[in-house]
Amino acid sequence: MRLASLSAKVRQAIDWRLPVTAAILSAAFLPILWSVISSLKAESLPEMLGMLHGPFLGALRRSLILMTAVVAGSLAVGWPGGTLLGLVEFPGRRVLLASLAVPLFTPSFLWAIGLSSFRPFLAYRHQWWLDGFPGAFLTGVVQTFPLVVFAALLGARTLPASLLEAAQLAGGFWGFFKASSRFSLPAGLGASVLGGVLALADPGPAQIMGYHGIASEILIAFSARYDAGLAARKALLMTMVLLPVVLAVSWKVSLWSEARLLGREMRKANRRFEGILPAVTVLGFVFIYVALLSPALVGLTRPLKGAQTADALQYGLTVLKQSAGTTLRYGFTAAVVATVLGIVLSLTCGRCHPFRLTVLLFSFLVLSLPPSLHALGFAGMAAQLPKSFDWFMRGGNAVGIAFGLRLSPIPALFCLRAWSVMPESCHQVAVLHGVPAFQYLWRVALPQLAPAMAGSLLLVALVSIADVSSTLLLLPPGAGTFTSRIFGVIDNASERILSGLCVVYVLSGFILVGFFAIVEALWRRRLGGSR
């Protein structure tokens, strides 16, 4: 876009949209900034860099190796898989997609427990495959590849029908697949880097697999040495090392998303294929998916044998019942805060190119930075602010609000996408006919955004519930989510009890995702098919 046209659009939008957008982005980014500033105040940069030696440097190196491996592994599985699922319609596709969503909403330490528990099935000389680095790597891939699948799927779905049909005519199914794969690569790469950073910042699998990384260093500084400042400085150092990669990928993915993901409404291509090749490819992906997930699932159920199985499951249900109120409260608050902010962001951005690009860049940046940096900044702000801020900066509300702020980019991306596929002429007709803004918002805009809003609410709630590292940093004394309760007993509960808790969690995840998949299908049916 030319500079003159760009500046004209900025001028048009500057009236009220600029302060609103800036306020929301600042709120999401402020805790991170707080962490950075307070760390630099406490210790100068050269002093902080002095920490980069000995055990800390070793932990950092291990974490970076893990991150690189998870990015490569999840991209190798998720990118072609997601492209395939975006291109081909087949019976059971929706069930497969719903089941793929479960690992996203399940704490990574739970998969680590499953894999670790699967070890006795292997011969002793092969048990190292599920220990240390290989174990942490597998856990990271299991957790991350569904994210890559969904991102690549979304990328493949944005291909114009004419392009797909041309590729199909030129090279059949294989040509069609190759053309789409190139198109979905940026989305897949962005998701895999995001997953890699989250794997690096997650202390759970490291603790279980015995692969001591930087996330464990931060958690120990905070919860064992009670030194939030040290934890923040370590988190900042980790961020500084990651920043070049995160910035480069965020910039690239933002540009791509702005041009493609938020593109114009497009005609849908025929995605039904006959023949052996599509069927074999789909079956191949399903086989890889089952092969990746089944060891952890089998491992989780292994200790549940004999007479005490019912007791273990009963205990799991009791803990779920005890912590359900707190868990749902945090999840619900986070979902509402994030979705409201996301909707406002998408409405303020509209189709203004510089605004959308800025929001996308901030979104990917906030999501890709280690969650602990945000949580520590939020806790630091709560400690410094006056008492009148306590109702939302401390206690139960704080956890949900902190998550809501950090995850607000998710609904923003969803709603921006939903808003952008609506032709601009729809809004212009409303302007021409003088439809009042509130009426247009209520009758047309919000119903159009409704599926994106529902998806965002669910996603943010489940991601918040599954998180353990930020929850442990922000949780008020005595409170506990289902996830933090499981994490709290990893070291001292019996294998059977732990297994009961994990199985109840995974089953709850499947039930929840299944429920929402059915609601979504009914909603689609109610809207009726298109010609």
Binding site: L3, A4, S5, L432, R443, S530
Partner: protein, 217 residues
């Protein structure tokens, strides 16, 4: 319209364009792709600001350089967009009804007007269908009904050939007797269809004349 200019970045779309449209007349604005036809309609509708020039409707200034003087919905016009701009979640009836948001009528009167216009467009049986459930032709009729329902003083049709079937301007005399040819950002020639057909000066009409028999006006 006097001395209109509009550019997108370095791409100058309209340059010193001046023309007028008489009341109670149909005008067909034609020209090659990308010559600025849609831009001109959007400027008249008040959806874009002018870089230079002025636009008046019934003598009143509505747009001037860098400023929308009268808001689009106060200009007494309606427009059918190239992609129709139907609200996808509303039925055909609701689409037309919401288009009457600013018309000062009771709800019952609005409903009657909507029913009448849908009947005129032969869309009564599809009044409860949403746009994705309608064929392209039916969607076009709903968009036309929505525009006509407000009884505009000026009706702008972007790519009317798509809505009203005709393609060649010399075949379009059923909807238009006056033609203006837009080339290189300005009006190359204008007048009645009969005059222009006899002595076309613009490349657009010369090319089309070679394809078509003389129109009967």
């Amino acid at each position: 319209m006097e001395n209109l200019s509009k550019a997108y970045g370095r791409n100058r779309v309209l340059s010193g364009l001046s023309m007028s449209v008489q009341a109670q007349r149909n005008l067909l604005l034609t020209g090659p792709s990308g010559c600025g036809k849609s831009t001109l309609l959007r400027l008249i509708a008040g959806l874009e600001t002018l870089d230079e020039g002025t636009i008046r409707i019934e003598g009143s200034l509505v747009s001037e350089r860098g400023r929308i003087v009268r808001a689009p919905h106060k200009r007494g016009l309606a427009m059918v967009f190239q992609d129709l701009g139907l609200w996808p979640n509303l039925t055909a009836f609701q689409n037309v009804m919401l288009g009457l948001a600013r018309v000062r009528l009771s709800r019952r009167e609005k409903s009657e007007r909507v029913r009448a216009i849908l009947k005129a467009c032969d869309m009564t049986s599809k009044a409860d269908a949403r746009p994705p459930q309608l064929s392209v032709g039916e969607q076009q009729r709903v968009a036309l009904a929505r525009a006509m329902a407000v009884r505009p003083k000026l009706l702008l049709l972007d790519e009317p050939s798509l809505v009203l079937v005709s393609h060649n301007p010399f075949d379009a005399n059923s909807i238009s007797a006056d033609v203006a040819v837009l080339e290189a950002g300005t009006i190359r020639e204008s007048g009645s269809l009969e005059q222009l057909h006899n002595r076309p000066r613009s490349q657009t009409l010369q090319a089309w004349k070679n394809e078509t028999q003389p129109p009967h006006v």
